[in-house]
Symmetry: C2
Subunit: 511 residues, 2 copies
């Protein structure tokens, strides 16, 4: 695989000097165009052999381009804030918003390859981690991001020569540590792992470019030219596709409805129609049981906290289904320092400039906390689908994106509980009227609630599809029959207690 | 001081039950009003003796109010991300935006009092830390924030009884650790320090309320009523003041110009008129010297990095003075992973919902990094003053706020370098024309640049006042004569090198 990067290609000093001024200007120009109409972020990743010019390339490009719109990230050992969250949290946090360029040094490729070279992971684990990378990059490029990846290559002798040279210069000596020489001695293993990694993760949406690293001038021109061309192409493509999507939206509004939702019109039975909505509980047994469950949750949560285990509770449901009341019955059982309720309304402008999952990643809490989302990332496949805020493409791939996101939470040891609170159409109407009639509740009812009600069937279908596609063994949905508030609240509490208990039992067995 | 909180006041169960429902509804109502028209944040701090009901109060209020718009923060030992930044970084990060309520448990009062009780700080240090608290709270309330502080009191016997009671209940036993009993044994010292602290920090803008903690019902009603009333009063006052300020803005636009700037009209000599703007350097010596200085900076920065020392460079200057070029000559000397350039343009909506300094606090980097602000918090006393975006009150108190902010950076061991790049009016015109004539530079020139130019004298006066008031020994301004780009860039580089060197020398002596 790397043979083609050992051909000894060089660029003469004269050729280099002749090409650089125009290239620099063109890079500034694409950067400015990108910035003037921020449609997508550019993510440029540099990997490769130590000493092959990863950081030199980043430094030089930073010098050539406008540093105000560049973000450069390299990753040392995780800080404790990072260790207490899923591995990708810090990469999500650092993603450039649309219109900006981010340079990433090794980043999400670093640990998989180091762990493989040092034999800390099996071949199967390695494969899984590559799969995670593919999903991550796919998720970003599907959203329009441009991802470029450069692998800087040197053969074993050239690497030794480079490391020796770096060691000689007092200005670069610091860069060569024991670690670099250890890597050099494992050159064979490293190149094998790299080859497997590059083969596995070089897909059309985020291809690797292998760059011969021996000649600085050749390397620089290759990388800079590739960046310039890729951004230009992506700018053109994105302009073209935005014209097409505008046209097709205008021509066939039905497209946004996509395949699964077409059934909605005919009011087919959904997963919700199978619920027994008559379940009730009387006030007196409710009070007793509520207190028991709250005590149980409190004890369980403190136990989880000692293990540093976090939980994420997701509340979705029909309007007026009683999400707020159910959330309050949970928080009442907890120390106010241990939880955070995150209400999800319209995104802020910083959030709009990022992938839609970014705003949820940013709210992930440190170990031992409970984060309660009042509405969530499921907005993508509910309101955004039904109202046409997301294109059919967008919400349809949302299911996979969400499953991948949640699998990262669960893999990190987070307890993930998802509730759908359902009321019948009649019960909802009654509650709307009650809100209208009680002055202190009137603010809770908006025009939007009435508009959503008109789309009852479309929502039912969206919920049905959502549960079908995202109720996984690791992150199942709990459907809550919420016509009776007491019944609903107890079911919510019971579920979270059971999930905590199951998790802690597994934890205890694991030790 | 605490005698009045040892009167044994109680509320009967019947009275409590009679009052609570209305009180809860009123609290929800003020919360809703606050949220509907978000004009200010509410910061509610709970301090006091262990076991006197700090967290019980927060838990109960969280249960009564809408948890979606509440933020609750308690602080354990600092994470490593927090330790590498000034002490107040984590409090700034957690501040509620306008329209929301934040509950803070001990927070910025915790360490000062603990350190004093354990005799880790002298009386003088304690005084300084109280001063820091006063400045912090003043800064927020001047911006409109409502700050309420409750001190929960118990006498020594009552505290022992409370701790014993907590220890008996398996649900609360975890809250009583060795630490709590150690605090109890030091009750006298604790109360003395608390008294001094409360006396020192109970000011009209952020008063303490001492609450008798023995009877839960009395304590709850006292706190909840005080919160309800204070928010109501603040809502009224803020509505009234926004009416007044709208009127006065309309009547006398000159007011925004304030006192110091009135001199601007007469084009008095300013600190800038004393600069020798003829200083130049030739290309050949420039190239040699540039390389030397960049090498020196690189070495110095790596040394600083080993000590975990961060630096912040602030670039302000006339339009077309060459800030971008000077910044690039610095970043070219650095590893791209070691610095971040933060361009300051219009704030995002998340930033607008906070105090204007919040957006700068959030960008403070971890240890060892260099953060370069291309424009900065000085916008408050420059563009916001001249353009009237900030009221005279706002920009005039800006000087003190900025000095306090910077003193926290410097106290944390950060190297702070501030540059003003000045060109003459003629030179600026020449550069504007050059930009107009070179196609690839035209985008750099905007209508705003021409408008700013018309206000040349007002800006000169604002710069003069800024330097006069914020060039402190700890954070001096460096005025850079920038008619000659070469001269300017070398001066910028030389200054940052000298500052690094001086800091490292002090550090070495300190060891």
């Amino acid at each position: 695989m790397f043979e083609a990067a050992e051909l000894g290609r060089r660029v003469s000093h004269e050729d280099y000097k002749a090409q650089v001024p125009a290239l620099r200007e063109e890079l500034l120009e694409v950067q400015r165009t990108l910035r003037a109409d921020p449609r997508f972020p550019v993510i440029i990743l540099f990997g490769g052999v130590d000493g092959a010019g990863k950081s030199e390339s980043v430094n030089l490009l930073s010098e050539w381009m406008d540093p105000r719109w560049l973000i450069t990230r390299a990753y040392g050992p995780a800080s404790d804030e990072e260790r207490e969250r899923p591995e990708y949290w810090r990469f999500w946090r650092d993603l450039p918003p649309r219109g900006r360029i981010g340079f990433f040094l090794s980043a999400w490729y670093s640990n998989p390859i180091i762990d493989r070279v040092s034999r800390q992971t099996t071949r199967a684990d390695f494969g899984e981690r590559l799969q995670r990378i593919i999903e991550f990059e796919r998720c970003l490029t599907d959203d329009g991001a441009l991802i470029l990846k450069f692998w800087m290559h040197l053969n074993k002798d050239a690497q030794r020569a480079r490391l020796k040279k770096l060691e000689k210069d007092p200005l670069t000596r610091w860069r060569v540590r024991k670690e670099q020489w250890r890597n050099w001695r494992r050159y064979g293993r490293f190149v094998d792992a790299a080859e497997e990694m590059i083969k596995g993760t070089s897909l059309a949406n985020a291809p690797w470019t292998i760059v011969e690293g021996e000649d600085d001038r050749y390397r620089t021109l290759t990388v800079a030219t590739a960046i310039r061309d890729a951004i230009r192409r992506h700018l053109d493509a994105s302009a073209a596709s935005s014209r097409i999507s505008k046209r097709s939206d205008a021509q066939s509004p039905a497209l946004a409805d996509g395949k699964p939702s077409r059934r909605a019109a005919s009011s087919q039975p959904t997963i919700l129609s199978r619920l027994d909505m008559s379940q009730r509980i009387k006030p007196a047994p409710y009070e007793t049981r509520l207190e028991q469950l709250q005590g149980r949750l409190n004890t369980l949560h403190r136990k989880a906290q000692r293990h540093g285990t976090s939980a994420i509770l997701v509340f979705e449901g029909s309007d007026a289904a009683g999400k707020g009341g159910a959330i309050r019955r949970i928080t009442a059982a907890l120390d106010a320092r241990a939880y955070q309720v995150i209400p999800i309304a319209a995104p802020s402008d910083e959030e709009r400039a990022q992938h839609y999952l970014w705003r949820f990643w940013r709210h992930l809490a440190r170990g031992g906390r409970i984060t309660i989302f009042d509405r969530s990332w499921y907005g993508r496949v509910l309101v955004e689908r039904v109202e046409g805020f997301a294109s059919a493409d967008e919400w349809m791939r949302g299911y996979a994106e969400i499953n991948q996101f949640e699998s990262q939470l669960v893999a990190d040891g987070i307890i993930l509980v998802k509730y759908w609170l359902q009321v019948t159409k009649d019960e909802q109407l009654e509650r709307f009227h009650a809100r209208q009639n009680a002055s202190y509740k009137r603010w809770k009812l908006t025009d939007e609630d009435w508009r959503n009600r008109e789309k009852w069937d479309a929502y039912a279908q969206a919920v049905n599809d959502m549960v079908e596609r995202t109720s996984t063994r690791q992150a199942p949905w709990t459907l809550v029959e919420a016509n009776d508030k007491y019944f609903a609240r107890l079911k919510v509490l019971e579920t979270v207690c059971d999930r905590f208990e199951a998790h802690l039992a597994k934890h205890a067995r694991g030790q």
